[in-house]
């Protein structure tokens, strides 16, 4: 029965991929046709270009989202938090931080279970700093952000974002480990005893189902933000004059990087809506480092997560944690503004 199910799924996957490829190839001509023939807008006009941009980017990002979220959904069935923990227990500093940051990307993580995960890690013997590397990387480098960056900025900026995100996770976790801040973890955390579960490994049909479920859950949650974000981005592309952002988010304004981080923090979790807008601003004179810092602050630092983590961390440790990550993001912003000047 299981092999029948798998056969059906594979057939279904093949037809879906064919459709996907056809749709992706037709995107550009179709979007221009829709904007300039169907809607009769003038090529090169503000409105025409903005509409063409919107009609191209929304389906493109959605197509990329579906395929990447599906793939990541399957990959994540191999990296359970239990397995990641087993791998990280007793790791030395630095190598532990590196592995934790990398595993943070592929291990399923939702900030709503940050507390049981944190307790599960530290009571089992994962060093505190290594645990923090995981907690920084997990939200910062996520599939939605990566897809939007790739779809709208191209692979260079995406790679830059991923590598600096991992670097910040690695360094901030390492610093927290060096500072030996275990005393600022709430006492009750260590009163728990680590225990393990024995969940059965999923079968391949179940893994594929998990991929489909991930698509339904994640794409179902972000599609509206994608449309709104790209609509605003398209408007900026079409109507905002060149160089308009140069004085605010340009390299000349020294205060713009920290300001971008301060503004970015409360805008948590709307990666899907914020990235298209930042991309548009980049074309209007915003500096790359400032833009990166802003996106990292929006995506990587979330206030609700701070509230949740307060249950296991004393305020001092919470402040140190977010302070180090924020400083890291600011440093990255200045660095890229210098390098890409």
């Amino acid at each position: 029965m299981e092999s029948n199910q798998l056969k059906r799924q594979i057939l279904w996957l093949i037809s879906a991929s064919v459709l996907w490829v056809v749709a992706y190839i037709c995107l550009e001509p179709l979007s221009r046709w829709a904007a300039f023939e169907l809607l009769g807008l003038a090529e090169g006009s503000h409105l025409g270009e903005a509409v063409a941009f919107f009609l191209l980017d929304v389906p493109k990002v959605m197509l990329l989202l579906v395929i990447v979220v599906f793939g990541v959904g399957i990959v994540r069935t191999f990296f359970t938090p239990e397995r990641t923990r087993r791998f990280l227990v007793g790791r030395r500093e630095l190598t532990g931080n590196i592995f934790a940051a990398l595993l943070g990307v592929v291990t399923p993580f939702c900030s709503c279970s940050a507390v049981p995960l944190f307790i599960g890690f530290v009571t089992a013997g994962v060093p505190l700093g290594v645990t923090f590397s995981f907690l920084v990387a997990a939200p910062m480098v996520n599939e939605v952000a990566v897809v939007l960056l790739f779809g709208l900025f191209g692979w260079k900026v995406t790679l830059l974002y991923i590598s600096t995100g991992l670097f910040i996770a690695l360094v901030s976790g390492w610093i927290i480990g060096r500072l030996k801040l275990e005393k600022w973890v709430e006492k009750w955390v260590y009163e728990n005893q680590a225990s393990t579960t024995n969940e059965d490994d999923p079968t391949w049909p179940e893994r594929i189902d998990a991929g489909v479920l991930a698509v339904r859950e994640i794409v179902g949650k972000v599609w509206l933000y994608v449309i709104l974000g790209i609509a605003v981005g398209a408007g900026i592309h079409g109507y905002v004059p060149e160089g308009w952002m140069a004085s605010v988010m340009g390299r000349g304004a020294w205060w713009s990087v920290p300001a971008a981080v301060v503004i970015g923090v409360p805008l948590y979790s709307n990666a899907a809506g914020i990235i298209p807008i930042v991309q548009a601003l980049l074309g209007k004179g915003a500096a790359l480092g400032t833009a990166l810092a802003f996106m990292m602050a929006v995506i990587g630092i979330s206030l609700p997560e701070a509230v949740i983590l307060r249950r296991v961390l004393r305020p001092q440790l919470l402040a140190v944690f977010f302070g180090i990550v924020a400083v890291g993001i600011i440093a990255v912003g200045y660095f890229f503004n210098l390098v890409f000047g």
């Binding site: 938090p81 993580f109 939702c110 709503c112 507390v115 049981p116 728990n192 225990s195 479920l213």
Partner: protein, 82 residues
């Protein structure tokens, strides 16, 4: 009688899993107790690191996912080890 527990801090996903489990129990016509566990210590004690989790007779059957009533039915049909 089976004891079923839904572990989670009360996020929307946990509520969805609770509703799905209720539906599965009803569909099977089972006689069992269903309870929500929100106490963090208890959740950690069961070894669960990602919520929501479904625990049947003390055994963690699923964690970190909202599984469908169909999947829950399969898990409930499993013989219990008394």
């Amino acid at each position: 009688m089976k004891t079923i527990k839904i572990l989670g801090s009360g996020c929307p996903k946990c509520k969805a899993l609770y509703t799905n489990t209720e539906a599965a129990i009803k569909a099977l016509g089972l006689d069992c107790s269903l309870e929500k566990v929100t106490d963090m210590k208890e959740i950690v004690k069961s070894g669960v690191m990602s919520t929501p989790a479904l625990v049947i007779d003390g055994v963690v059957k699923s964690s970190g996912r909202v599984i469908s009533p169909e999947e829950i039915k399969k898990l409930l049909a499993w013989p219990t080890h008394e």
